[in-house]
Amino acid sequence: MSIKKYAVAIRDVIAEEMRSDSSIFVMGEDIGPQGGIFGCTRGLLDEFGENRIIDTPISEAGFTGVGIGAALTGMRPIIEFMYMDFTYEAMDQILNQAAKLRYMYGGKATLPLVIRGQQGIGRGNAGTHSQSVEAFFTHIPGLKVVQPSGARDAAGLLRTAIRDNNPIMFFEHKALYANSEEVPDDTDFSIPFGVADVKREGGDVTIIATSLMVGRALEAADILAKDSIQAEVVDPRTILPLDMDTINASVRKTGRAVVVHEAHKTNGVGAEIASRIMEDSFKYLDAPVTRLGAKACTLPFNLVLENAVVPGVDDIVAAVQNISYR
């Protein structure tokens, strides 16, 4: 085990995988000498050279398409998006091409491709650089969508992503990069997709949280415990595939559920999770499933306002208390 920051855990897995598989290369903006603006490729140019650590022009659609062509022809590209908000520039290549080519070409095309980068609040980057955009990519079949909430999960899930033969959307969080955690040193350490992690056990209510919200849910659970409410915190880790077995098992035990994500509440992944809980576990529920997500406005620049838009610890506590009636 080593204590690693989330960003370092990501960089180390990329390097380890590149050492053992020469078909892996990394492409993106300012990832060479700069090492990525969040340091996730720091030092990789020195070790792997310009042929495998490729600084691209600011051409998101173009280099995503180039990555697809490379993946179709035997390579395993990792594409770094400086901000996942910029995937909007490349939506055709991601949603119409990467997600669909295998299906449309009758199963004969294989696309081992990882698109990764950070998103979310925390730096006052305003509306076009602070969003959480994962839901878009869960709507079109063909992609897998990953959201690690800590360094250990980031390492294990990224290794699985790199070794997977499908296009993967890997959503890091800018406010998590500096968080440290113990990460196994084993260069085969991986976490399978579609396996949720129960981050805290409890019998009274289930809080299903993703990414940055996992930490807030755990804080909320500590506060609720003082009020004699034991919350179970479930982190799906991958929202596609989604581990409904673990979520259902928890909800059937507690009878109550709050789903919380940083992305907009309206048509967010929480809507999918909540309705699937109701489809699968309705008769076990003692209260309606509650969703928490960003308010329906553009993420504001001002940090006080930014915090007012996304769910805070207090909001989670209040939501749980609201459904904890007897």
Partner: protein
């Protein structure tokens, strides 16, 4: 071109023409659905380029892509079955006319999104470069596609990185109903190469010899590590944009004038003049290709529809829990 090569190019053109005439007939008989984009009149471009590629070289193509697939070696029976959405088709009926692909033979696929295949070929070229092979990638696209941002982004990267890719713009004068003059800031799309510091050349796209010459030069340049080339093949689409196009945007006279420049008739005349083939041999070749297409049609018509129980196959590689 030696005699054998000329015959190969000729047969490829004839196969594309008759394949598409058959597709049109099937469409008119209501046996084939969706939208079918015919490249009748444009056959010299795929025939005098694709014929010169090896299996390991790559192509990407467009909504008007039957010719590119056939010239790269696609089987007409499997292609016709795909046009009819049959289970025996190249994509098992999942892709249709606009998505014929055969990845293992270097056809990385036709694409129904204008311009979307351009970066895929360029990525294949990047992959060849990283793997250290001498493979070449070719991407076909229309005049309309050269107004898409991704065309410009990709040409910039291909030139910046000196990639072994040949950009082939088939300028058939229209993007759907819009003439090139109403959509392009430039008269010759080839000049757009200059913006990316790569050679650009205007070619008579109805002359197989001109197409071959320009293409082989571009392939040589790519293989020598000197980077990409943009070739603009001036040609003309005889049929509507797709089956059912009212064609309000041009006159019959204009179409008839271009029919006189038919690339197939032109090569036949050349072959007779030079003694490569006699008129009788040409007539026989037509009959032979007619027979091949008839068999393909029969194969497609008698192939089974896909089983709805398989509709979820191949969304992902492997099982997804």
């Amino acid at each position: 071109m030696d005699k054998k090569t000329i015959l190969k190019v000729y047969e490829t053109m004839l196969t594309i023409r008759k394949f598409e005439e058959c597709a049109l007939k099937l469409f008119e008989e209501n046996k084939l659905r969706g939208s079918v984009h015919l490249s009748i009149g444009q056959e010299a471009v795929p025939a005098a380029t694709g014929t010169f590629l090896r299996d390991e070289d790559y192509i990407t193509s467009t909504h008007r892509g039957h010719g590119h697939a056939i010239a790269k070696g696609a089987r007409v029976d499997l292609a016709m079955a795909e046009l009819m959405g049959k289970t025996t088709g190249y994509c098992g009926g999942r892709g249709g006319s606009m998505h014929i692909a055969e990845v293992e033979k270097g056809n990385l696929g036709a694409n129904a999104i204008v311009g979307a295949g351009i970066p895929h070929a360029t990525g294949a070229a990047l992959s060849a470069r990283i793997r250290g092979t001498d493979q070449v990638a070719v991407t076909y696209f229309g005049d309309g596609a050269s107004n898409e941002g991704i065309f410009h982004e990709t040409l910039n990267m291909a030139s910046l990185w000196n990639l072994p890719v040949v950009f082939i713009c088939e300028n058939n004068q229209f993007g759907l109903s819009t003439p090139q003059s109403k959509a392009c800031s430039v008269k010759d799309i080839a000049v757009r190469a200059g913006a990316y510091d790569m050679p650009g050349e205007v070619v008579d796209g109805n002359d197989v010899f001109a197409v071959e010459k320009a293409f082989l030069k571009a392939v040589k340049r790519a293989k020598e590590g000197k980077g990409p080339t943009l070739l603009e093949m001036k040609t003309y689409r005889w049929k509507g944009h797709w089956t059912g196009d009212p064609e309000v945007y041009r006159t019959r006279e204009e179409v008839e004038a271009w029919k006189k420049k038919c690339p197939i008739l032109r090569l036949e005349k050349h072959m007779v003049d030079k003694g490569v083939m006699s008129t009788a041999e040409i007539a026989n070749k037509h009959k032979e290709v007619d027979g091949v297409i008839r068999k393909a049609e029969e194969f497609a018509l008698t192939s089974p529809e896909p089983d709805p129980a398989t509709v979820l196959d191949n969304v992902y590689f492997g099982e997804v829990n």
